[in-house]
């Protein structure tokens, strides 16, 4: 939906705002100690209600990923990136491995063959970035 700058209508917007900020922190786009956009800035950017944006920020505050510096704004907490990366690792199986195994089974790709394909893809990537 173009009106909301990349957010979609399928999930609560505050959850999506929290996820966007989390992803930026995990990818290093928002460094630890850096100020995060205010709820009004997020509201203007995503074209969403400021209260909704504030709720997204408070999700991360409650998780200790952001901290409030009174009168200045919200900042990325120390250790936030590491914690988000660990969380993503835990979600990796569910998000990527399980759907992939299901699709492989539909196509008749056996476990050994699947493991080979993963190895090849990994090696190709290592070769490309080496």
């Amino acid at each position: 939906m173009p009106e909301m700058a990349g957010l979609d209508e399928g999930a609560p917007l505050f959850v999506q705002v929290a996820e966007r900020l989390s992803a930026e922190i995990a990818d290093g786009g928002l460094a630890e100690g850096e100020r995060v956009p205010s709820s009004n800035e997020l509201a203007a950017y995503y074209r969403i209600n400021p209260a909704t944006a504030a709720k997204g920020i408070s999700v991360l505050t409650d998780e200790g990923l952001l901290e409030k510096h009174r009168g200045i704004g919200m900042f990325v907490a120390a250790g936030a990136r590491q914690r988000l990366l660990e969380r993503r690792r835990r979600q990796f199986t569910e998000r990527y491995i399980e759907p992939m195994a299901a699709e492989a089974a539909r196509l008749g790709i056996g476990t050994e063959e699947l493991a080979d394909l993963i190895r090849q893809a990994g090696q190709a990537r290592e070769g490309a970035t080496a």
């Binding site: 939906m1 009106e3 909301m4 957010l7 979609d8 209508e9 399928g10 999930a11 609560p12 917007l13 505050f14 959850v15 709820s39 009004n40 509201a43 203007a44 995503y46 074209r47 969403i48 209600n49 400021p50 209260a51 909704t52 709720k55 569910e94 399980e98 759907p99 299901a102 699709e103 089974a105 539909r106």
Partner: protein, 297 residues
């Protein structure tokens, strides 16, 4: 929730027809509420009565705890912009001056910047404005009034997409700086959805849905896959819409999904997709008579 507007048992009969049928609803203070529904659902009548411009046959309206009818103190804290606003023999500048005198929190500076945004000519007679320009004038007055209760009834007839987005952006920015209670009726649910904190939906003079917008997002799910698997899955749920093509079926269910529901989807037999707010609202409109209450998240 502290209501800015409290409507109780509001009924309006007009030429033998019930345009409002026992409507009771609270509009949260300091929030933006979308008033949705098809033409003739009763949205405008409800807003007109709240604004003290029309009288109910039965029931009551309280704005900040007081009746708005002929109550100057309440009316000055409330602005109502209608699609078919009629202005006297005014030039644009006169309409702005009149509004600036009436509304205690009027911002001339904000009005000027909105006038520039919409390229409105100050010296033109309101009667000579195009439909879009007249809507823009309504928006300028509605926003610059900074009234504690701001009611906008389909405020953008004749405005193109660019101008409508100027309206959304200015409303959001100013609302962030100067919080107020906004009640916005609109057909353009997809465009305005992000602005709304709450959604109140009317159908044939009744409220059929009253919920937080974010509770509605993801409250319904579209399940698709092989017919038998979909039917087995949906047997435990309320189904809103079902369609079939060959051996495939797709159904929209409204009950929340648990982890046990997601397992079959993960093994690849079924696809689960969230249903968007605007789709949900459309289903609610079609199903209103028998789903009263059940659609309330």
């Amino acid at each position: 929730m502290t209501p800015a507007i409290s409507v109780t048992g509001l009924t309006r009969r007009y030429r033998g027809q019930l345009t409002l049928d026992q409507v009771s609803v609270d509009i949260e203070a300091g929030a933006t509420t979308g008033l949705l529904g098809r033409n003739g659902a009763g949205k405008t009548t409800l807003m007109r009565i709240i604004a003290g411009q029309e009288f109910a046959s039965a029931g009551s309206v309280r704005v900040f705890g007081a009746s708005p009818a002929e109550n100057d103190r309440v009316l000055r804290r409330m602005v109502f912009v209608r699609e078919d606003q009629v202005y006297p023999e005014f030039r644009v500048g006169d309409a702005l001056r009149a509004a600036s005198l009436f509304y205690p929190d009027w911002s001339g500076e904000f009005a000027d910047s909105l006038m520039a945004d919409f390229a409105l000519p100050r010296n033109r007679a309101v009667k000579k404005l195009s439909r879009g320009m007249r809507s823009a004038l309504g928006i300028v007055i509605g926003l610059a009034a900074r009234a504690q209760v701001t009611m906008l009834d389909e405020p953008y007839a004749g405005l193109d997409a660019v101008a409508r987005h100027v309206f959304y952006d200015r409303l959001l920015a100013d609302y962030a700086e100067h919080p107020r209670t906004v009640l916005l009726s609109t057909h353009l649910v997809d465009e305005a959805a992000g602005l709304l904190e709450r959604v109140v939906m009317m159908d044939r003079g009744r409220i059929v849905l009253d919920a937080a917008a974010d509770d509605l997002r993801g409250a319904a799910t579209r399940v698709s896959g092989p017919v038998l698997a979909v039917q087995e899955f949906t047997a435990r749920h309320e189904v809103w819409d079902r369609r079939r093509m060959g051996s495939q079926e797709s159904a929209v269910i409204v009950s929340p999904l648990g982890e046990a529901d997601r397992a079959p989807a993960r093994t690849g037999r079924l696809t689960l997709e969230p249903v968007s707010l605007q789709e949900l609202v459309r289903y609610a409109a079609c199903l209103a008579p028998d789903t009263q209450g059940s659609a309330t998240a």
